[in-house]
C-alpha cells in the first residue's frame, strides 16, 4: 500500500477491521468493518457504551490483539502481520499506555516506574530524554515523590505517574483506557487536563477509550462506536452535547 499515513496526518489507522469470537450460534462480533484514522498530534476519544467494541478496537490498534479480518497501521508500519516479538518491541518503543487501574509495578519506586520503558528496552535515557523526564516529573508535580512506592501515593498521583511513564519515551501514540474510571471527579478532571495539555503543548497523539461524556469533552475529536461499528464522528464537543448524542443513540437502539 502506497498510502503515506504521515503525509495524510495520521498516526494510526485501521481499515475494514472485523473481530469475532466463537463460532456458529455462539458467534459474537465485537468489531464489524471498522475503518478509522487517529490524527497526528491530536487527543482523540473513542466513545461508546459497554460492549460497543471500543476496548477490542484499542487492543488491536495497540498490537495487543489481532483482528479476524482487516488491517491496522501504526504510522507507516502495518502491524496486523507482525509476530509477537516484533509487536512487543513496537509497543515498547512506539506506544504508551495509561490504564484504568494505574498498573504501576508495586516493587519499583516512582522513578523506577517512570524509567520502566527504558529499562525494558535495555538502555538508559539519553541526556535529552533525561531532561524531558525531569520536565514531565516537574509539570506533573511528582518531584518529591520519586523515591516513594506506588502504594504510598493516592490514586490521582498514581495515575500521574502512569502518564509520566507513558510519555517518557515520547511514543508515537499513547492509549488511555478509561483513565479516570478509578478516580473521583475532581482528580479525574486533573488527569484529563494533563492529557489534553500533553497533546496541545507537546504534540503528543493520544487515543482515549471511555464511556464518560465528561472525559470525552476534553478531546479534540470524538469517535462514537456502537455494536462494533463507527456511528458518528465529531470535533470537540461539550459534555452536554456528547451526553445528548449518547442518550439518543440508546433510545434509537
Amino acid at each position: 500500500m502506497s498510502f503515506n499515513h504521515a503525509e495524510a496526518g495520521l498516526v494510526a489507522r485501521v481499515s475494514h477491521l472485523t473481530k469475532s469470537y466463537g463460532t456458529g450460534t455462539s458467534l459474537v462480533t465485537a468489531l464489524d468493518d471498522v475503518s478509522i484514522g487517529i490524527r497526528q498530534g491530536e487527543f482523540t476519544a473513542i466513545m461508546g457504551p459497554s460492549g460497543s467494541g471500543k476496548s477490542t478496537l484499542m487492543h488491536i490498534m495497540a498490537g495487543l490483539d489481532s483482528p479476524t479480518t482487516g488491517r491496522a497501521w501504526l504510522g507507516n508500519t502495518e502491524i496486523t502481520n507482525l509476530g509477537d516479538t516484533e509487536l512487543t518491541v513496537l509497543r515498547r518503543r512506539r506506544i504508551g499506555f495509561v490504564f484504568q487501574s494505574f498498573n504501576l509495578v508495586p516493587t519499583l519506586d516512582i522513578r523506577g516506574n517512570i524509567h520502566l520503558p527504558f529499562e525494558l528496552d535495555g538502555r538508559t535515557p539519553s541526556t535529552t530524554e533525561k531532561a524531558w523526564i525531569a520536565d514531565l516529573v516537574q509539570s506533573l508535580g511528582l518531584g518529591d515523590r520519586l523515591a516513594h512506592r506506588p502504594h504510598q501515593l493516592s490514586g490521582g498521583q498514581q495515575q500521574r505517574v502512569a502518564i509520566a511513564r507513558a510519555l517518557a519515551a515520547r511514543p508515537d501514540l499513547v492509549f488511555a483506557d478509561e483513565p479516570t474510571g478509578n478516580l473521583d471527579s475532581r482528580t479525574g478532571r486533573e488527569v484529563l487536563s494533563l492529557l489534553a495539555a500533553a497533546s496541545k503543548d507537546y504534540g503528543q497523539s493520544i487515543a482515549m477509550v471511555t464511556h464518560d461524556p465528561i472525559a470525552a469533552s476534553y478531546a479534540d475529536r470524538i469517535l462514537f462506536l456502537a455494536d462494533g461499528r463507527v456511528v458518528e464522528e465529531r470535533e470537540r464537543s461539550s459534555a452536554e452535547d456528547i451526553s445528548r448524542y449518547m442518550l439518543g443513540m440508546e433510545q434509537n437502539a
Partner: protein
C-alpha cells in the same frame, strides 16, 4: 466458591508433597532400622530392644532434620499462599469474620494436609522399605529372617509430621492478623512486607544468636586445641549461630541475593529479576532458606568427615591394621549418611520450586503489564530463569560457605588436640560434593523455572488492561 476451592487444592499441592516426603522418609527409616536391628541381633534375640533403641536414636536425628526442613518449607509456603490470598481474607474480614477465625481456618487446612500427607507418605515409605527388604532377601544380599512387619515406632515420625505441618501452617499464617478489611476495597497496592513489619526484637535476637554462636564456635575451636571438650562447645556454637541465621535470614539473605544479582549481568531481564528478588526480601528469603539449610547440613557433614579422614590418613601412629578396608567402610557409612542428610535438600528443592511458581502466579497482572509495555516473552522467560538462578546460586553459595565453616570448625575442634595437641586442620572440601552441588543447583535453576516460565509466557498482555 468453586474456583476458590480449586485454587486451594493447587495452593496446597506442594505442602502435601513436602509432608508426604517427610513422612515417607521417616517411616522408611524406622522400618529399615528395625530390619537392621533384627539382622544384628539374629543370634541374640534378647538384645533386640537395646540395639533397636540405639539405631533408632541415630535414625531419629535424620528424621528430625528432614521434618525440620520440611516444616520450614511448609511454613514459608503458607506465608506465600496467604500473601496471595490477602484480598479474599480482607473480604471475609469486611463481611465480619474475625482475624483469628480466619487464621484458625488456615491452620485447619494445615492440619488436614498434615494428616493426608503423613498417611500417603506413610503408606509409600512402608511399601518402599518392604519392597527393598524383599528384593534384598531374594537377591541374597541379606539373610531371610523373620522380620517384624511393622514397627510400633513408625507412629513417631507420622505424629511428628502431622504436628510439624499443623504448627508451621499456624506460624506461616501469622500474616493474616495484619490484613485489614479495607484491603478488600479499591485498588490498594500491596505494601511490601518489610515496610509493614519492623521487627527490632526478632532482628536483635537473630543477630545476638548468630554472632554469639560464631564466637562460641571460635572458642570451641580454640579450646579444641587443648581439650576434647572443644568439640562440644563448637557444636553448641554451631547450633546457636545457625539458629540465629535462620531466624534472621530476612536480614542476611537479601545482601547475598543482591550480590549474586549483580553478577547476573545488565540485560533488562537480569535487572528486572534482581529487582524482583531484592524488592521482596521476605519472599525471596522464604524461597531460598530451605536450600540454605539443606546445603549447609550436607556441606558441614561432608567437610567435617573429609577433615576427619585426611587427619586419620596423616597420622601414622593411628593407622589401623588394614587401612584400605577401614576406609572403604568409612566411605560407605559417610555416603549413606550424606544421602540421608541430602534428603532434606530434596524437600527444600520442592519448596523452592513451589514458591517460585506461586510468586509468578501472584504476579500475573504485573507480568501482563510488562508484556503490554514491551517485554517480549523471551525476555519474560529470561527474567524468571534469572530469578531462579539468582536464588539458587545465592542459597547454594551461602550454604556452602556456612557448611565449610561449620564442618571445618567441627573437624578442627574434634581433632585439634590429637597427637598431643596443637594440630591445625585445613578445611578440606570434598570435590565430588562440590560438583554434585553445582550440578544440583543448575538442575534446580532450570527445573524450578519450568512451570513458572510456562505460566508467565502464556500470560496475555491484555490481562493488564482488565479491571479486577
Amino acid at each position: 466458591m468453586n474456583s476458590r476451592s480449586t485454587a486451594r487444592a493447587s495452593d496446597h499441592r506442594s505442602s502435601l508433597i513436602v509432608t508426604a516426603l517427610s513422612a515417607a522418609f521417616g517411616v522408611a527409616l524406622v522400618q529399615a532400622t528395625s530390619y537392621m536391628a533384627t539382622m544384628i541381633t539374629a543370634d541374640d534375640a534378647g538384645s533386640f530392644a537395646t540395639v533397636q533403641l540405639m539405631l533408632s536414636m541415630v535414625s531419629g536425628v535424620f528424621v528430625v532434620i528432614a521434618v525440620y526442613v520440611g516444616a520450614i518449607v511448609t511454613a514459608n509456603t503458607f506465608a506465600t499462599i496467604i500473601a496471595g490470598r490477602t484480598r479474599t481474607i480482607a473480604l471475609m474480614r469486611l463481611i465480619g469474620s474475625t482475624a483469628s477465625t480466619q487464621r484458625r481456618s488456615i491452620a485447619r487446612e494445615g492440619l488436614l494436609i498434615g494428616l493426608a500427607g503423613s498417611f500417603l507418605g506413610g503408606v509409600v515409605g512402608f511399601a518402599v522399605a518392604f519392597v527393598a527388604l524383599r528384593t534384598a532377601v531374594i537377591a541374597d544380599a541379606v539373610p531371610d529372617l523373620s522380620y517384624p512387619v511393622a514397627d510400633l515406632y513408625l507412629v513417631l515420625p507420622l505424629l511428628c509430621v502431622v504436628f510439624a505441618t499443623w504448627a508451621s501452617s499456624w506460624v506461616g499464617s501469622r500474616r493474616v492478623l495484619s490484613v485489614t478489611p479495607i484491603q478488600a476495597t479499591g485498588t490498594a497496592q500491596e505494601a511490601s512486607r518489610e515496610e509493614t513489619l519492623t521487627r527490632p526484637f526478632r532482628n536483635a535476637f537473630a543477630a545476638i544468636m548468630f554472632y554469639g554462636g560464631l564466637l562460641l564456635l571460635a572458642g570451641g575451636v580454640a579450646l579444641g586445641l587443648f581439650s576434647p571438650f572443644g568439640f562440644i562447645v563448637a557444636f553448641l556454637g554451631g547450633i546457636v549461630s545457625f539458629t540465629g541465621f535462620v531466624t534472621g535470614a530476612h536480614v542476611f539473605m537479601p545482601p547475598v541475593l543482591r550480590l549474586v544479582g549483580r553478577l547476573m549481568g545488565r540485560s533488562p531481564s537480569a535487572r528486572m529479576a534482581t529487582e524482583n528478588a531484592t524488592r521482596y526480601p521476605e519472599r525471596s528469603t522464604r524461597t531460598t532458606i530451605g536450600i540454605v539449610i539443606g546445603v549447609t547440613l550436607i556441606t558441614t557433614f561432608a567437610v567435617a568427615s573429609e577433615g576427619f579422614l585426611s587427619m586419620l590418613l596423616g597420622s601414622p601412629q593411628d593407622q589401623p591394621q588394614n587401612p584400605e578396608e577401614v576406609f572403604e567402610i568409612l566411605y560407605i557409612v559417610l555416603g549413606v549418611f550424606s544421602a540421608l542428610i541430602g534428603f532434606s535438600a530434596i524437600i527444600a528443592a520442592f519448596g523452592m520450586v513451589n514458591n517460585l511458581s506461586l510468586s509468578v502466579f501472584q504476579r500475573t497482572r504485573e507480568l501482563g503489564l510488562l508484556r503490554a509495555l514491551g517485554f517480549t516473552s523471551r525476555q519474560v522467560r529470561g527474567m524468571i530463569v534469572a530469578e531462579s538462578a539468582q536464588m539458587t546460586v545465592a542459597a547454594v553459595g551461602m550454604g556452602l560457605l556456612l557448611g565449610i565453616v561449620y564442618g571445618w570448625a567441627g573437624a578442627q575442634s574434634l581433632l585439634g588436640q590429637m597427637n598431643n595437641g596443637l594440630v591445625l586442620v585445613w578445611p578440606s572440601v570434598p570435590w565430588p560434593l562440590l560438583a554434585a552441588l553445582v550440578a544440583g543447583a543448575a538442575a534446580l535453576t532450570f527445573g524450578a523455572a519450568q512451570v513458572p516460565v510456562r505460566r508467565a509466557t502464556s500470560i496475555s498482555p491484555v490481562l493488564a488492561l482488565s479491571v479486577d
